[in-house]
């Protein structure tokens, strides 16, 4: 049996049935990491020793019936912006290159309680600022489908690790598309939940009003099970919602009869790669054939989402990142002359260029005299975008479109033109501004063999509607199990 071919739920079932031990599961992913990591570089930290220690402990708990959940014993990777007590948590930044938190993030704690084996921390764009994972202090992650291409970002390490079978699932975070876009580029299933569904306690903040943790998975069923595990009401996060509808696996139903799906014309126009357009429209057709009502409509205000997003996210980031000053933890410059010089040199040396750019933009839009002109105007735009989505959801249950305008670009092609990179977020960021759930589902590949993702957007708290539609699509196409395959790397070695 090739363990790496299993989904997280399939593996969990086999562990429960005593067909596979937790140790064997860890062996499988550690073996795969050793094979693939030199080419892919999904991880900042691989905790081999810790993984085996956890495996032993979890196996005991499974054996005595203490752990019975569907993910017990299944290896997971965590994006490196979520705190784990005593474990390096870097945000892929030099400034946190030696930072070991004193506590564990709530979402990770929820996984621990469910018996997850945490095998390591995944690479990301520095402080989640970027769309390619190239802004990482630790160097870029490569796309497992074609290592000349980026995996997307900022959760590129998490998505590449799942696509390359270096773990069975992963946690990512999404501030403007950071789960959905790399999921699309890597051919995996990624979901950004409604704001407030997963606790942000222990997630190192980028844009606090936009950040959400979510699952990265091999298929829709895994995605639902992971979300069910990490979603919780957390009194330590004032924006955490007390939801009583977190039984997301209940929505794994192969039926979309009567489901109203709207495709925004504004998402299918200029700038969209024709191959992405075709694949997404074909996927919509599949859902239509399964009984959904599909039609086009206008969502005009989304074109203002990019300027509004970069104003709000950068403003919040400039404040959130002030604490990294070299005083209590993290990198501190070697030579300095007095306190303020120490701050200045530490931050100049500790942050990379993209992070500095966003801190400067954010400080500018918040500065006196510009606050009303930029920041407040962006907040008003955000409110208008939310209203426009509210209107759309009066007519539709789901908004369907692409997750990104293109497939994964080649390494080194994006950072030289940040404006172009920002424009690549066009389909995902309005979802964060409106606090909505969004999901990326693989719907095929382009002529170069690079995956294409369809994005499903739901009204607030409608994750189940997204999961149902995605599951129905998956059942109709049976594609999902093949898409995460690490084609380039693994077909050679005939692992898959």
């Amino acid at each position: 049996m090739d363990l790496l071919k299993l989904t997280a739920l399939e593996l969990g079932e086999k562990i429960k049935a005593k067909e596979v031990t937790v140790r064997e599961a860890v062996d499988a992913v550690i073996g795969q990491i050793k094979e693939a990591e030199s080419e892919i570089h999904s991880f900042v930290t691989i905790d081999e020793e810790g993984a085996y220690a956890q495996a032993e402990e979890i196996q005991k708990k499974i054996d005595v019936g203490e752990l019975t959940g569907p993910l017990a014993g299944v290896p997971v990777a965590i994006k490196d912006n979520m705190c784990i007590e005593g474990q390096l948590t870097t945000c892929s930044s030099k400034i946190l290159s030696n930072f070991k938190p004193t506590y564990t993030a709530e979402a990770v704690e929820n996984l621990r309680k469910a018996g997850a084996v945490i095998i390591g921390k995944t690479n990301m764009d520095e402080f989640a600022m970027g769309s390619t994972t190239e802004t990482s202090y630790y160097g870029p992650t490569r796309n497992p489908h074609n290592t000349a291409h980026v995996p997307g970002g900022s959760s590129g390490g998490s998505c590449a690790a799942v696509a390359a079978s270096e773990c069975y699932y992963a946690l990512g975070s999404d501030t403007g598309g950071s789960i959905r876009q790399p999921s699309s580029f890597c051919g995996v299933v990624g979901l950004k939940p409604t704001y407030g569904t997963v606790s942000r306690y222990g997630l190192i903040a980028y844009g606090s009003s936009l950040d959400q943790i979510g699952p990265v998975a091999k298929d829709v069923s895994d995605c639902a099970a992971i979300l069910e595990t990490i979603a919780s009401h957390d009194p330590k996060d004032s924006t955490s919602m007390d939801r009583d509808d977190c039984d997301f696996t209940e929505a794994l139903v192969d039926d979309v009869k009567g489901l109203r799906i709207g495709i925004p014309r504004d998402y299918m126009g200029e700038g969209l790669d024709p191959e992405v357009n075709d694949a997404v429209m074909k996927a919509a057709k599949v859902l239509e054939e399964k009984g959904a009502i599909v039609e086009a409509f206008d969502l005009r205000l989304v074109k203002y989402a990019i300027p509004a997003y970069y104003t709000i996210a950068d403003a919040e980031a400039s404040s959130n990142l002030e604490r990294f000053d070299g005083v209590k933890y993290g990198y501190r410059t070697k030579d300095y002359d007095g306190l303020h010089n120490m701050y200045k040199k530490t931050r100049s040396e500790g942050f990379g260029p993209e992070v500095k750019r966003r801190i400067m933009l954010g400080s500018f839009v918040l500065s006196s005299g510009y606050y009303d002109a930029y920041y407040l105007k962006a907040l008003r735009t955000k409110a208008l975008i939310k209203k426009e989505f509210d209107r759309a959801f009066r007519n539709y249950d789901i908004i369907l479109g692409p997750a990104a305008p293109t497939t994964a670009p080649e390494l080194g092609k994006s950072l030289s033109d940040p404006m172009k990179m920002y424009l690549g977020d066009i389909y995902t960021i309005s979802v964060n501004l409106a606090g909505l759930p969004g999901m990326s589902v693989p719907v095929g590949k382009d002529s170069k063999g690079l995956p294409i993702g369809m994005q499903l957007i739901g009204n607030v708290f409608e994750e189940k509607t997204l999961i149902r539609a995605a599951y129905t699509y998956e059942c109709a196409t049976k594609k999902m199990h093949e898409t995460p395959a690490n084609v380039g790397l693994m077909s050679e070695k005939e692992v898959r």
Binding site: N81, M82, C83, T89, C91, L96, F99, P101, T102, Y103, A105, R200, Y201, G202, L203, I204, A205, P235, K236, D237, S238, S318, S319, E322, R323, F324, D325, V327, K328, Y329, L339, H340, Y343, L366
Partner: protein, 152 residues
């Protein structure tokens, strides 16, 4: 020359509220504990931690607001005051700039020329800047700002 200048004074009064725990976390406000026993990721400003407002602070603030004839703000919010200084581990102070908890009140005092009203401009809740002893950070206080009406 005699009446060219008039001295006008406004006061900013900081009041430490007698709550059991700090303003944004559950740590004790008691003075004199063993080192690092009254701290947590929130009040040490650790990355990823989040503030949760102490309900008692709001109740005390409203009580003082009513006692000083203020209008209580029905929808109020916090703002960050950003500055780099080590009296504060996040390098911003959580305070209230736009919608403070109470506004437009007054207190009456006895003066040489009889009773006098000192008008209160606003009252806002904020975390206290630390005394550069890490344990002390995030004790809360209430800031009462008077109008500049204390003619001397």
């Amino acid at each position: 020359m005699a009446k060219q200048y008039e001295t006008v004074i406004g006061l900013e009064v900081h009041i430490e509220l007698a709550t059991k725990t700090k303003i944004f976390c559950g740590c004790s406000t008691e003075f004199g504990g063993a080192p690092n026993t009254h701290t947590c990721p929130v009040c040490t400003g650790m990355p990823g931690s989040l503030p949760v407002l102490n309900k008692q602070v709001v109740e005390y603030a409203m009580a003082i607001g009513l006692a000083t004839n203020c209008k209580i703000t029905q929808v109020c919010k916090f703002d960050r005051k950003n500055y780099f200084y080590p009296d504060n581990p996040q390098n911003y102070q959580i305070s209230q700039l736009y919608l403070p908890i109470a506004r437009d009140g007054y207190v009456e005092i006895e003066s040489g020329s009889g009773k006098k009203k000192v008008r209160i401009h606003e009252m806002h809740m904020e975390e206290d800047a630390g005394k550069l002893v890490h344990d002390e950070w995030m004790i809360l206080h209430l800031s009462i700002i008077t109008e500049a009406v204390c003619h001397l």
